[in-house]
Amino acid sequence: MMALNGTPAADTPLLEVRTLSVAYGRKAVALNAVNLTVPKAGVVALLGANGAGKTTLIRTVSGLIRLHNGAITGGEVLLEGKSIAGLSADRIVRLGMGQVPEGRLVFKNLTVEENLQVGGAILPRATLAERLDAVYDLFPRLAERKDQAAGLMSGGEQQMLALGRALAASPRVLLIDELSLGLAPLIVGAIYQQLKKIREHFGTALLIVEQNARLALGICDYAYVLERGEIVLAGPAELVAASERMHESYLGARAERQAAAG
């Protein structure tokens, strides 16, 4: 792994992944000794191509990996210094880890309001209403569609809803998997604007998985690059963005060169 200068905030990190290895089934190794840290209220990006293992990392951290027939073969996942590797996914959520999964996964037959209520079901009733108002403030579009069935909304709206649902539980750290997948750039831009606000308003730490590196590097403080299950590059956003390797493979330098050559 190539470490660029500078480490994330020094005191106990909110989320820490230590030499984590994960395999699907008996053989298919998806992650190999991955280290990653998300500081309190930090925004961290996890970049990588298709099949690099980004989703696998998210699933492992959130405890969903067993549901997908995967297993941790080594290493640790710590939330505020406490190991959460063996816990069930719903316990982990109740400990303050929210997730916006790949492919959105809203409750299609429930209304927008009900989706958010389920999202915030772990909160006491009194705080829930307040929290939902905050979510509606962040995404006024959701407020307009309160009573619509989630399955009938557009992709972008569903993505907002998935984000809103995760936020409704007041997570301390939010894992976001490929927000931009299959959405129009305009909508993606709008949602990313809101992501910035999430940290400001709620102090939530974010771990953002993205294939679109430019997008993610635009809002994160720190970035990791995953290739074939291993972290190959890590560092503050500006340094990662400026690195040669990044330019080569992810920010389109190669494509530009090819275009020039062709």
């Binding site: 959130s62 969903l64 549901l67 069930s88 996914a89 719903d90 959520v93 109740r94 929210g98 997730q99 999964p101 996964l105 809203v106 409750f107 299609k108 037959n109 429930l110 009900e114 989706n115 209520q117 389920v118 999202g119 079901a121 772990i122 649902r165 995760a166 539980a169």
Partner: protein, 288 residues
Amino acid sequence: MLVQFLLTGLALGSIYGLVALGFAVIYKAERVFNFAQGILMVCGAYLAYTATTQLGLPFPVAVIVIIAAAALLGIVIQFLFIRPLSGQPLLPVIMITIALSIILKALIEILYGVQPKPLATSLPTGVLILGDVRLSQLNLTAAVVSWVCMGVFFAFFRFTKAGLLMRATADSHEAAILSGVNVNRINAGAWAIGTILAVIGGVFLGQIQLASTELEHIGLLALPAVVIGGLQSIPGAIVGGILVGVIEQLASGYISPKARDVFIYIPLLIMLLVRPWGLFGNRELGRV
């Protein structure tokens, strides 16, 4: 005669609708196609026998005991039989519910003997005569109670947090887990509700006929009822149940009691071929 058959069919159909509703709740929660629903219904009849005849409890207390026992039974079944197979393909899951029904039936026959038992609940047994239509008060009570139960059930799903979480879990297990929902507990709850509904139906059928494991066949009519109504649809289960009740009465009344099954299963077959998602189901969701 027609009115007579229709009314009786409606009353019995309400009971089937109740049992089918229980079936649909279990199906929606975990995608478990419960072949044991029929025998769960039979358990209701025998629970009523134990509570009223064997223990001699006053009827209101007996009702509470029966419902509590049913909930417990559902939870235990989910824990012992269903949870170990969660995530498995269709056939093993269907088979374990069949194994469950074999086991329950054997246990009932060992505990209570094979002779049918008459129930002595304090449900009304008189006959209402309206013109030339005779309506048994028991059937009428059964219908009314079934409708009340359905109403309570709808209110539960619509207005309570537990109901909301159940609907959410039925919609997407993974998303529910990601919302911090303990889906095991929710599924156990679904089994408790499904069993309670079957058991209430069983108390009535046991009183109308006799408590006997033969009632299982009637309980199994919940299957075609649910599929005709639409596997994924709760109102569908109820309408399907009523439809099956009416068809049953008309077929046994006008043709012969033996013809009952064919007149229920032929529409089922047609429905499967033409509209597999059922009368009320959703086309996309109905593809299994």
